[in-house]
């Protein structure tokens, strides 16, 4: 019998281990690394009949929002090659947008699937934390990372999710609960659903055209019988600060294993073991990775732990509680994915903080562990895609996908094809 993805060519982000080809994480430190094993999701895709035709570019170790932080290439936006594809799953989203593959996998730690999906005009899902096994996903922020599907429409995203979701004994944080038949439930009607709108997502810094497109999407659903409910997420404003402590703390520890001792890049002539560590890491990691390792190391240092890491964990609980309270009253929360459409190549690369702020609307979903999807909802005056974010409660993918699908049945933004037939990469 043929699997549900029989013969479907797919691409996967290059931070998922594969026994074929390289697994570089976009980093020089893993330039020569070949994995001994396949990630759980690769096993699942292949046993469903998919043909993984390649690995896609990313910001080094998934740290970035533009795929400019790759040690190898900058991935450009198929809609406008002077613009970034977004990141860190920029390669996967650009590949889907440029019709190189019908579907791809990305990973999302603070928006790394949804933000590039919005920039590239494709659909990207960040599943609930624990829905998809992380076994074989090279960790960035272990308590935030999730693998998710990227495709041109919600149906394909649901199909791929049904293949990769489910418990895996090799990942203790993957949750053992049944995987619903996502495809079978896509036809649930919009009528009667409650859509939460939080002013925190529509404040200062939001581009006017993005706001209007998202508002139009909400109006459309309201016109179909959805109830729009104002909600309040009071702690969302601490999301960025909280995220950059939790994620960097975990990253500083997760990336400690790249030391030049057992595999990966090793400095040519180390003078002693300390030099081996320092030079291998110094030469192997790029500037953004080093910045985050230093931030995280600092946050975990004795004397600072309580003030930074511990406090961040407390704020994280508050953010989680905010969402739980909200989901008692609404089925989904609608918001923009990003404050702006795709920015220019090089525009933010010298300003890390500006770059971090491009994830302001996506980060909270990772902190709360809930599911969230980005679907195309329009174009700005420059012809760049705009994304609508819909967020659902933890393990609420079934409902979330159905609502997104119903939106797509009534719109054709996702059917638009970029003027360039294919993605362009440049060294």
């Amino acid at each position: 019998m043929l699997g549900p993805l029989a013969g479907v060519p797919m691409a996967v982000k290059d931070n998922m281990c594969t026994t074929f080809g390289a697994t570089t994480c976009g980093s020089r430190i893993l330039e020569s690394f070949r994995s001994r094993y396949d990630a759980h999701v690769i096993e699942r895709l292949e046993s469903a009949g998919a043909v993984v035709i390649g690995k896609t570019n990313l910001d080094e170790f998934a740290m970035g929002s533009s795929t400019e932080n790759s040690a190898y290439f900058t991935t450009l936006n198929p809609w406008d090659t002077t613009r970034v594809a977004g990141g860190s799953s920029g390669g996967s989203c650009a590949a889907v947008a440029a019709k190189i593959v019908p579907a791809a996998l990305g990973s999302d730690t603070g928006g790394s699937i949804r933000q590039p999906a919005a920039f590239c005009g494709v659909v990207g899902l960040k599943p609930s934390y624990g829905r998809v096994s992380r076994f074989g996903l090279v960790a960035f922020g272990s308590s935030l990372d999730q693998i998710g599907p990227i495709a041109t429409d919600v149906r394909d995203v649901a199909l791929v999710l049904s293949v990769i979701a489910g418990h895996d004994e090799r990942d203790s944080t993957s949750v053992d609960r049944p995987v619903p038949d996502y495809l079978a439930r896509l036809d649930r009607l919009v009528k009667g659903i409650r859509i939460g709108i939080s002013e925190e997502y529509f404040g200062e810094g939001l581009d006017r055209e993005v706001r209007e497109a998202v508002q139009a999407a909400i109006d459309l659903m309201a016109g179909e019988g959805a109830e729009v409910v104002p909600i309040h997420l009071p702690h969302m404003k601490y999301g960025i600060a909280c995220y950059y402590l939790v994620a960097t703390a975990e990253a500083s520890s997760n990336l400690a294993r790249f030391d030049g001792v057992r595999y990966g890049y090793r400095t040519p002539r180390p003078s002693d073991i300390l030099d081996l560590y320092e030079s291998s890491r110094g030469e192997g990691f790029g500037p953004e990775v080093k910045r985050r390792i230093m931030l995280g190391t600092y946050a975990l240092s004795s004397g600072y732990y309580d003030a930074y890491y511990l406090k961040a964990l407390k704020v994280r609980t508050l953010i989680k509680n905010d969402f739980e309270t909200a989901f008692e009253r609404v089925d989904v929360i609608a918001s923009p994915v990003t404050p702006t459409t795709a920015f220019g190549v090089g525009e933010k690369s010298s300003d890390p903080l500006a770059m971090y702020l491009s994830d302001i609307y996506t980060i909270s979903a990772n902190l709360a562990g809930i599911c969230a999807i980005s679907v195309p909802c329009g174009f700005d005056s420059q012809g760049l895609p705009i994304g609508l974010q819909l967020m659902g409660p933890a393990f609420g993918e079934e409902h979330l996908l159905a609502i997104a699908h119903q939106y797509q049945l009534r719109t054709d933004w996702h059917a638009c094809v970029p003027p360039l037939g294919s993605a362009v990469s440049r060294r």
Partner: protein, 495 residues
């Protein structure tokens, strides 16, 4: 300081690492094998490969809880795993998964026999962690890393500083080894590094009505009981001497330090000061879920808890009238102790069973390098041998002989005794004849037995042996002894 009247008291707290003998490692499915070729028991998880994730070994956790219970600890109902960060080539992830602020067991105590008394040492905590690999430095100008041990489950037990001498520490460590082997959670073999000790030592010095304390020294990585005793003894003397030389050598004034034990020189050597201690940047491991211990799980583990060695030793001595030494030998291994009780339950007299186990069966097992339970001798047969020895059917020498034959033959000891002609002969005439033959054949020994006070005892023993030999091992030793004395007495009086 020339004060001669000072008194000193050694203060010791112990950190003990016990490797648990689970089939697989703490967080992956690799076997824990000591003698395997380097890097043959490894996988992406214990190699720290990208993307690999740890999964807790439930057996290791249950055994750790069992040990915690045996140490009278409070068992935590909720614990978690933490990462302890430091860079070292034998640590693949450059962090160790351990338990920081929520150890699985805490606030217990362990009692050991010191001299005639009982010493209670409080247990501060016990927690699980993964072992590191091994750096092999003796390979020319490079260092090789063997990661077979990396990820092996380690139970770290920390005592309060209640131990007051090197001897107490020595006894504590031995008793703890007995405990873990008794529980079956560890082989406890020092040579394989399955138990490692790190004593924290300082000295309280009382001089002219004032008490001074020396800085605390942690002696790293001792792997024998002897080394524990010697290193603490040495360290106590060294610290006292250092204080005599310089009264500023005090806790709080001079920093604490780590020292290593040089067994060849019999000294401790400075390793590093504690002020340069690592910042391990502990934080909860996001790859592992917290551990919740249910009532059911606690009950199940508690049901596995056997009688502990110290209690069992006391009971054996009291209930069965065994000597302290024999009781100790029998309890050394749980299997032997349990075998003893089963054989006794088979109706054999406890004292004889005890003696035969200690003096015969354990010796035979040791000679063959097997456990006494693996000698291949049926327990009911062991009981029969004890019975025929107790009721005088065979004497001790014959019983020993029969035991050895029982290793290869399945007949009952009584049958064997009859077949080999070892049934004890009580007959007065035959016994007298064997004595006479021994006397006639060994005139020198007879002379010594009568006239040479220095050799008298040895000579009598020799004659008894010769007579027993003449009987083919069948003589009743008691009767034989009586007849030899009788004959010597007659010779003395010249009758």
């Amino acid at each position: 300081m020339s004060d001669q009247t000072l008194t000193t008291r050694t203060i010791v707290g112990l950190e003990i690492h016990v490797q648990l003998q689970t089939k697989t490692k703490m967080f992956c499915g690799c076997p824990v094998r000591f003698e395997a070729p380097p890097n043959s028991c490894v996988c992406p998880v214990c190699l720290g490969h990208p993307g690999a994730l740890p999964v807790m070994n439930g057996q290791a956790y249950r055994w750790a809880v069992l040990t915690g219970m045996a140490l009278n600890c409070a068992i935590a109902r909720h614990t978690k795993w933490d990462r302890k960060s430091y860079f070292y080539p034998d640590l693949p992830k450059n962090y160790q998964i351990s338990q920081y602020d929520l150890p699985l067991a805490s606030d217990g105590y362990f009692e050991v026999q010191v001299g005639a008394g009982t010493k209670r040492v409080r247990i501060r905590r016990a927690h699980l962690e993964e072992d590191a690999g091994k750096n092999l430095h003796d390979t020319g100008n490079c260092t090789l890393v063997d990661l077979n041990r990396a990820g092996a489950p380690l139970l770290e037990i920390v005592t309060e500083p209640d131990i007051e001498s090197a001897e107490e520490a020595y006894v504590f460590c031995i008793e703890l080894q007995r405990l873990v082997t008794h529980l079956g959670v560890s082989e406890g073999v020092m040579q394989k590094g399955q138990m490692r000790f790190e004593p924290n030592v300082n000295v309280a010095i009382e001089s002219q009505g004032r008490e001074y304390r020396t800085p605390i020294v942690e002696i790293k990585n001792l792997n024998s009981f002897r080394a524990v005793r010697q290193a603490i003894e040495y360290e106590a003397q060294r610290q006292t001497a250092a204080w005599r030389e310089n009264a500023d050598y005090q806790l709080g004034t001079v920093p604490n330090e780590n020292r290593g034990w040089n067994a060849d020189k019999g000294v401790t050597e400075f390793q590093r000061g504690k002020e340069a201690a690592h910042d391990y940047r502990y934080f909860p491991d996001p790859d592992l879920v917290p551990v919740e211990v249910s009532d059911v799980m606690l009950e199940e583990i508690r049901a596995m808890l056997p009688e502990l060695p110290i209690a069992r030793r006391r009971r054996f001595a009291e209930q069965y009238g065994l000597s302290v030494k024999d009781a100790e030998t029998l309890v050394e291994h749980r299997a032997t102790a349990e075998l003893f009780e089963r054989v006794v339950a088979g109706g054999a007299p406890a004292e004889v069973v005890g003696k035969q186990l200690v003096n015969v069966w354990l010796k035979l097992a040791n000679d063959r390098g097997v456990a006494v339970t693996d000698l291949g001798v049926d327990e009911t047969r062991m009981a029969e041998l004890a019975k025929i020895a107790a009721d005088g059917t065979v004497n001790k020498t014959a019983a020993n002989q029969i035991a050895e034959i029982m290793l290869s033959r399945g007949e009952s000891p009584r049958q064997l005794a009859e077949e080999l002609g070892l049934v004890q002969v009580q007959d007065m005439d035959s016994t007298r004849r064997w004595v006479e033959e021994a006397f006639t054949a060994n005139e020198n020994a007879v002379r010594d037995a009568l006239q040479n006070p220095k050799k008298m005892q040895a000579a009598v023993g020799f004659l008894r042996g010769q007579a027993m030999k003449g009987s083919g091992g069948k003589a009743d030793p008691k009767l034989l002894g009586e007849l030899i004395e009788e004959r010597l007495a007659r010779l003395r009086t010249g009758s």
